[in-house]
Symmetry: C2
Subunit: 407 residues, 2 copies
Amino acid sequence: MLNWEDIFATRSSRMKASEIRELLKLLDRPDIISFAGGIPDPALFPDQEFKKAYADIFSGSAVNAALQYSVSEGYKPLREWLAGEMGKLGIGCTADNVFIVSGSQQGLDYLGKLFLSPGDTALVTWPTYLGALQAFNAYEPAYDQLTLNGNRTPDSYRKVAQEAGGRVKFAYLSVDFANPTGETVDRAGREKLLDLAEELDVAVIEDAAYQSLRYDGEAIPPILALEMARKGGNINATRTIYCGSFSKTLAPGLRVGYIVANADIIRKLVLMKQAADLHSSTINQMAIALVAERGFEAQVKKIKAAYSKRRDAMLEALGKYMPEGVRWTRPEGGMFIWVTLPDGFDGADLLAKAIERKKVAFVPGKAFHADGSGANTFRISFSCADEKTIDEGISRLGALVREEMAA
Amino acid sequence: MLNWEDIFATRSSRMKASEIRELLKLLDRPDIISFAGGIPDPALFPDQEFKKAYADIFSGSAVNAALQYSVSEGYKPLREWLAGEMGKLGIGCTADNVFIVSGSQQGLDYLGKLFLSPGDTALVTWPTYLGALQAFNAYEPAYDQLTLNGNRTPDSYRKVAQEAGGRVKFAYLSVDFANPTGETVDRAGREKLLDLAEELDVAVIEDAAYQSLRYDGEAIPPILALEMARKGGNINATRTIYCGSFSKTLAPGLRVGYIVANADIIRKLVLMKQAADLHSSTINQMAIALVAERGFEAQVKKIKAAYSKRRDAMLEALGKYMPEGVRWTRPEGGMFIWVTLPDGFDGADLLAKAIERKKVAFVPGKAFHADGSGANTFRISFSCADEKTIDEGISRLGALVREEMAA
């Protein structure tokens, strides 16, 4: 069911097509252990709940509405449910602040389209979510490295952007258990980002795709909540644009995500969507609304219980099998661990060897870096393997790294 | 179920928001007869077939696949079914030539993104599909009037495009029972367009959204079929890009449309979609494939029987109630009739009066003209009203036009 070509093409756009094809031949074998896919475990999908939701739609009075054209801003009961959820996160808002997109990837595309002209600068971390780079690339921006450690002044960002031929238009940041690193931006980092955005007078795009999947540690308020606290709780005075997803919690195949932001931004995005694809699937928005209303919390609890055990297993295995000199992140949630090898290692090269010699796969880290750095890094995902398989796969990877270090 | 704000915003983007709001207040009344919406009659949706399709998906072995991420080019069984359908239209091709989009509106957006840089020229008819103008507008093109009557030389198109600051990039044409005019481009016109596109070396975007809905007259081969006939049946040598839709035949609420073209264009569009929204809804593509495989022809037959009676009723009523000096098209299919009033009439002005005084609605023609002309025209749709209502509504409209002519 996993489509490898897609995953490779998505995750490693810098690999040559011929290289990908060679790898694909090997990956076709069922004996490969893969930590490459950034996808949810289908065994955890609430399929019975969705079955009931679609059946209820077809048995109810809204069946014609479900199959008909609908409004570009999205299905109102879903937007209202989301407004309620946002309230729990410290983001008091109404349905007017919520916009439904066909997956949060579409939200990133629209935000690129809204903000970026060729030569403008987008601030992103090194590494960052590859899908965000792909979405923004269509609008031909320059990238500058967003750092929250105080090494850069607002003026330095302005200057670099000017030299690239435009202005800084936004800072994009995945905040919780980010893809690909698994790391979380702490509260001080979020506040610093807000300071920077205020000084530069630019938008903040807060990618919260994994936010619900926290396994331990204390939840940190979203950047949008922190900004609202600064602005008297008025969401319509904010510059932060919150991008959420049902792909990691309910199911990605329905393509339903959302954006929460000040009503002025939402209005612009709605007009954009009207021209771009009219609206997201009506029936799927209704199905998501039903499943979410009936049992979002229970579903999230189920996923968290499964994924947190897998994360523990992967961290334990890394400790057991990786040699000295290899470092990795310790995520408090999400799906990913980020591994840094000693300098001189090349992740793409290691991947080819890992598949051929050890029958194990991951994603090389270079593709996640807007500047092409990060050759000695890679991403492993624990979302789709059981604990035993995780132990076996990491043991093989550890053995390969040892062999390579000795070579 | 009809969302008026959306329809007005979509169909009449040149109206002021305040004007639209005033009209909306009136339109909220159930006593208004509307010929404005360009939407299919929900009473004709194959809802039982969709109910069974979704139930079958959830009872079968593909349920996990239905809820999971999938490939950007689209669900292969659906692409294969479509390739077979295209063969029947004289377009011999494989699934590699078929790309699934989230409604054909998304196809138009992607084609605008692929071809247009600011200042480039798109050739469109006056009037043309408003949604196409909205999709293309995002890429800031100039428009030039596509005419197939021989009044314009290829050089004249080149020159106008150069003056606008770019080059002609494509000709866009809705071929059968077009929205908004209901008119069909004859075979000679299609061949002329191909000649022009060859001379200009540009793409042809063939919008075939209504092609299946022919009620009488003989089917004319799609432009893509005519081009293939010129090129030895080799689709991969063609420049015509065929945009199809399930929105008028099965249901728009699932957001599933398709593009058929040479494999090189398809590959570029697939990469674009990967960055823009990953893929169209997996489960909806599966449901469309099931419903189409099981009974596409029967469904189309049912719709055609209903719509053709309504078209007949509307043409009869126009003949009965419209005064001398008013002209209208006689569509062989689709959903629309285009009315031309004597010079001096203003469609938007007439709409306001029609709603207030006669409780009947239509879409003023100006919005469909890239150059802002067409003030004395309007579009009426017969898709969503029964024959009796059509007679009553056109009788009211005819009375209004008579009153205005006498005033």
